[in-house]
C-alpha cells in the first residue's frame, strides 16, 4: 500500500543513511590517515583508480570533463571515472558518512565550511604549482581557517545585459550606458513601455547583493566574523531597489511571467537584466535572435561592485590516492585545459593567465571577466546559506517591505550563524 510504504520510507530516511554510516564507518576506521584532526599526509595507493563526481550543467560540460579526465588517464596510467551526480550535496554527504567518498568532486562555496570543518576535505591548495595564478578573491573563497583547501574550478560574475534593439528604439546611444545608480534608474525608466519593463533580475541576494556591494555594504565583514547586514549602506542599496520596484521600472521575473531573468530578457518582457555569463549560452540556445550587449554594472556610492560565484575541485580526506587526485586537479586547472573548458561550455577560467585567451575567444563576454576585479564572493560561513535563503524569501516581498526590519532579521540570523561556527 502506498501510505504504508511511504511511512516506512520516511521513517527510515535518516535511519538508513546512518546504517550505511555504521557499516562504512568500521571499514573506514581501519584505514590509516583517517582521523580528521591529524596533519594531512598524502595517501598514494599506487595504481588505484580515481572516481570523479561532478554536478554537471549539461552534456557539454559532462563531455568536456570526461574527455579531459580520459586524456589525463592515458597520460598518467591511472584509471579515472567521471560520474554525474543527480544530487551532489546528498551524494557527497553519504560518501563522507560511509567513509567512501569519491576522490575528486565539485564543492560549492556554501558547502566548503561544513566539509572542511568535519575534516572531509584534503587541504591541498598550497601544494598546487599554479597556486599564485588563481584570482585572489577565488582563493579567499576556498580558504577556511587560514588554509587554502581546494583549487577554484572556474567562476562567474554578474554584469548588466542590454537588449540593443530596445535600447535603440528608446532613442538611447552608447553614451547613455549607465555608470551610476541615477543613470541606471533613468535608462530603466526610458526603456519601460506597456509591453516591456526596463530592468529585471531574480528576487534574491545573489542579484540584489550587487547593489549592496556597490553601496559599500554586504552581509559579512572582511574577516568573516561579524555580520554587517543592517548597515546604513545596505539600507541605502535596498531602498534604491525598492524605489525602482515601486516606480515600475524594475520587475522580478515571476511578475512578468518568467522563470528567471534570462527568460524575461529573451522573450522581450524586459530590456535589461543582471545575470552571469551563463546567460550567453542560454540566449544562444533558446533565443538566438535577440541582440544584446553586456556591460559592467554601474557604480554605486562606494564605487563598482558585483558578485561572483565559483566551485572548486575538492579532494576527499578519505581518498586512497590523494597524490594522483592532486595530479588530476593540477591537470584540470592548467591554463590550456581551462581555456578548453571555457570554449566547451562558456565558463570563465579561474586562473589569470587564461584571461587573455578568454577575451580573444569570447569578445562579447569581456565585461564579465573584467568585473572580476571588483567582484565579491558569497559568504562562506556554515549556515550562511540558510540565512541567505531566508533573506531571499523576504526580498520577494521587497516592494512593500520595511527595509530596515528585513535587514535587522538578516543581521540577527547571520550573526548567530557566525557565532555558531565559532
Amino acid at each position: 500500500m502506498r501510505t504504508a510504504r511511504a511511512t516506512a520510507l520516511t521513517a527510515l530516511l535518516t535511519g538508513s543513511a546512518l546504517l550505511v554510516a555504521a557499516c562504512g564507518g568500521s571499514g573506514f576506521s581501519d584505514d590509516e590517515g583517517g582521523g580528521g584532526a591529524e596533519a594531512p599526509e598524502e595517501t598514494s595507493d599506487a595504481g588505484g583508480s580515481l572516481t570523479v563526481l561532478i554536478g554537471s550543467s549539461g552534456d557539454a560540460e559532462t563531455d568536456a570533463v570526461t574527455s579531459a579526465v580520459d586524456a589525463w588517464s592515458q597520460e598518467s596510467g591511472t584509471d579515472a571515472e567521471v560520474t554525474v551526480a543527480s544530487d551532489l550535496p546528498q551524494q557527497l554527504s553519504q560518501g563522507f558518512a560511509a567513509g567512501s567518498p569519491p576522490d575528486v568532486f565539485y564543492v560549492g562555496t556554501d558547502n566548503l565550511a561544513g566539509y572542511a570543518a568535519n575534516g572531509s576535505l584534503f587541504a591541498y591548495g598550497d601544494d598546487l604549482e599554479n597556486k599564485d595564478d588563481f584570482y585572489p578573491a577565488l582563493v579567499e573563497n576556498f580558504t577556511y581557517d587560514g588554509e587554502f583547501y581546494c583549487a577554484p574550478k572556474d567562476f562567474s560574475t554578474l554584469a548588466l545585459v542590454i537588449n540593443t534593439d530596445a535600447w535603440a528604439a528608446a532613442g538611447l546611444t552608447d553614451a547613455d550606458i549607465p555608470t551610476d545608480w541615477a543613470g541606471l534608474a533613468d535608462v530603466a525608466a526610458r526603456l519601460t513601455t506597456p509591453e516591456q519593463v526596463g530592468l529585471t533580475f531574480g528576487p534574491e541576494y545573489q542579484r540584489v547583493g550587487v547593489f549592496m556591494a556597490q553601496a559599500g555594504g554586504g552581509l559579512v565583514d572582511e574577516d568573516g566574523t561579524t555580520a554587517i547586514a543592517d548597515s546604513p549602506e545596505n539600507v541605502e542599496a535596498l531602498t534604491f531597489v525598492q524605489q525602482m520596484l515601486k516606480d515600475g521600472v524594475l520587475a522580478f521575473p515571476s511578475a512578468i511571467d518568467s522563470g528567471w531573468g534570462g527568460e524575461a530578457f529573451g522573450t522581450g518582457r524586459a530590456a535589461m537584466t543582471i545575470e552571469g555569463n551563463w546567460i550567453v549560452g542560454a540566449l544562444r540556445n533558446d533565443f538566438p535572435d535577440v541582440k544584446y550587449q553586456v556591460v559592467e554594472l554601474p557604480a554605486g556610492p562606494a564605487g563598482q561592485g558585483t558578485l561572483q560565484f565559483t566551485n572548486c575541485w575538492g579532494i576527499a580526506a578519505d581518498s586512497q590516492n590523494q597524490q594522483a587526485a592532486l595530479e588530476l586537479v593540477q591537470h584540470l586547472t592548467a591554463t590550456e585545459q581551462q581555456v578548453a573548458f571555457a570554449e566547451a561550455f562558456g565558463v570563465m577560467p579561474s586562473v589569470q593567465s587564461a584571461a587573455e585567451d578568454f577575451r580573444t575567444a569570447f569578445p562579447e563576454m569581456t565585461a564579465f571577466i573584467d568585473s572580476a576585479e571588483f567582484a565579491v564572493g558569497m559568504p562562506t560561513a556554515q549556515g550562511a546559506v540558510d540565512v541567505i535563503g531566508d533573506f531571499n524569501g523576504q526580498i520577494e516581498g521587497l516592494a512593500d517591505a520595511d527595509v530596515a526590519a528585513v535587514l535587522e532579521s538578516v543581521q540577527t540570523n547571520m550573526q548567530s550563524a557566525l557565532d555558531a561556527q565559532g
Binding site: 521513517a11 546504517l19 554510516a21 561544513g114 568535519n118 549556515g383 535563503g389 524569501g393 520577494e396
Partner: protein
C-alpha cells in the same frame, strides 16, 4: 507444522524444542527488522542528541553527547532553525488539516458509489479511481507541475471561464491571509503579531496553506483517495444486506440508513483510514523534494523535507534527526487523540449486540479491516 505433530512424554523438552523452532522461524524477520528498522532508529536517536558532523561513524569516539541541545535549538532557540521548524510545522499542519478530512470523505463517497448494485461498469470505475494510487508519486508530481504552471492547463481552463488563475507554484501567499486581506484585514491585530509559538507569530500560523501548498493538497487527495476507497469498499461489502433490509423495514430513508446504520458500522475503517491518512500526510516528502524543494518562500517546507535538508544539505545531522523524532512524537500524539475521539462510546449492554452477528465490522475494538486483493476485484 512439524512442531505440533511431535508428541513426546517429556513436556519440558517439547516445550523447549517448540520454543527453539519458533525462534528459528521468526529469526529472519527479527534480523531483517532489527537491522533495517531497530538499529537505524536507535542510531538516529543517538545522533539527535549528539554533535555528529557527518563524517565517519556516529559511534566513533570523537562524537560528543550534547543532551537536548538540538531539540532546544529547534523548539526554544528563537533563531533561524526555530523559525524554519515552526514554518514547516505550520505548513504541514494546514496540509493535514485539509487533506485528511477531504480524502476520507471523498474516498467514502467513491466507495459508496462503486458499491451500488445499480451502477453500470462498476469494474471500470473501481479501476479508474484506484489508478492514481498505483502511479509513481514522482510522475504525478511532474504532471501536476505542468498542469499548474503559470500558462498551464488549469490556468487556461480558468481563463476560459474568465477567471485569472494565480501563478500557482510561485505564489507564497497564505490562502487564509488572502481571504482576510479581501475582507480588509491585511495587517496582524496586535496580540496576534506580538505573541507566537515555535518562532512564528500567531498571525503567521493563521496564514493558511500557500497557493503552492494547495497544489500539493489537491494532489494528495487525488492520489490517496483510491487506496482508501478500496478500504471503505471492503468494509461496505462486509456489511450484510440484512442490516439494510431491516432498516428499510423499520421505515428508514436512504439518508437515515447511511448516517445511522452504515456509517457507525464503518467506524473501525474510518479509524484506519484517518490514521493512515494522518501518518502519510505528516510525512509528506517525495512531492516536496521533486516539486518545490520547500519554496516559494518556504511555504511548502515540511518537517520531513526540513529533516532531509538540515542533514544532507546543511550538514546539521543532529538537528535533522531531532526533527525526525519530534515528527514521530507529533504523529503518535495525534493518533492517540484520534483513537480517543473515535472510541466506542458506552452503550447499554442489550443494545450493543443489536446488529446481527453476520456484520463483523461492528467489533468493539477497532482492528485491521480485510483488504481485498486489488488484482482480484478491480
Amino acid at each position: 507444522m512439524s512442531v505440533t505433530t511431535t508428541r513426546r512424554r517429556s513436556g519440558t523438552r517439547i516445550e523447549s524444542r517448540r520454543a527453539a523452532a519458533g525462534w528459528l522461524f521468526v529469526a529472519p524477520v527479527i534480523v531483517i527488522l532489527g537491522l533495517f528498522l531497530l538499529v537505524p532508529v536507535l542510531m538516529a536517536a543517538w545522533v539527535s542528541v549528539s554533535d555528529w558532523t557527518g563524517r565517519g561513524s556516529p559511534l566513533a569516539g570523537d562524537t560528543g553527547f550534547v543532551g537536548s541541545a538540538n531539540y532546544e535549538a529547534l523548539l526554544l532557540g528563537g533563531g533561524l532553525p526555530t523559525q524554519d521548524f515552526g514554518t514547516s510545522l505550520r505548513n504541514n499542519a494546514w496540509y493535514v488539516f485539509l487533506v485528511v478530512p477531504i480524502q476520507t470523505a471523498l474516498s467514502l463517497g467513491l466507495a459508496v458509489l462503486v458499491n451500488r448494485q445499480l451502477l453500470k461498469a462498476r469494474g471500470f470505475f473501481r479501476t479508474a479511481f484506484y489508478f492514481p494510487s498505483v502511479t509513481s508519486s514522482v510522475a504525478i508530481t511532474v504532471v501536476f507541475l505542468f498542469l499548474f504552471s503559470a500558462s498551464g492547463a488549469v490556468n487556461r481552463l480558468l481563463a476560459a471561464v474568465s477567471a485569472d488563475g494565480p501563478n500557482w507554484m510561485s505564489d507564497a501567499r497564505g490562502v487564509v491571509h488572502m481571504v482576510l486581506g479581501g475582507l480588509g484585514v491585511d495587517r496582524a491585530p496586535g496580540p496576534l503579531a506580538d505573541n507566537g509559538f515555535v518562532g512564528l507569530s500567531w498571525w503567521d500560523w493563521l496564514a493558511g496553506p500557500s497557493v503552492a501548498m494547495c497544489v500539493f493538497i489537491i494532489m494528495a487527495v487525488f492520489t490517496t483517495s483510491g487506496t482508501f476507497m478500496l478500504l471503505f469498499l471492503a468494509a461496505l461489502q462486509a456489511i450484510s444486506a440484512d442490516v439494510d433490509e431491516a432498516a428499510i423495514m423499520d421505515g428508514a430513508t436512504s439518508w437515515q440508513r447511511f448516517w445511522r446504520v452504515t456509517l457507525p458500522m464503518l467506524r473501525p475503517t474510518i479509524f484506519t483510514v484517518t490514521t493512515l491518512g494522518l501518518i502519510g500526510t505528516w510525512q509528506v516528502f517525495e512531492q516536496i523534494y521533486t516539486g518545490s524543494q520547500g519554496g516559494p518562500a518556504k511555504s511548502t517546507l515540511t518537517p520531513a523535507y526540513l529533516s532531509y535538508s538540515a542533514s544532507f544539505l546543511s550538514g546539521q545531522w543532529g538537528r535533522g534527526a531531532a526533527i525526525a523524532f519530534i515528527l514521530f512524537a507529533i504523529i503518535i500524539v495525534l493518533t492517540a487523540l484520534q483513537r480517543f475521539a473515535l472510541r466506542e462510546r458506552e452503550v447499554p449492554r442489550r443494545r450493543r449486540f443489536l446488529p446481527p452477528p453476520a456484520s463483523r465490522a461492528t467489533g468493539a475494538a477497532p482492528g485491521p479491516v480485510p483488504v481485498p486483493d486489488p488484482g482480484g476485484r478491480p
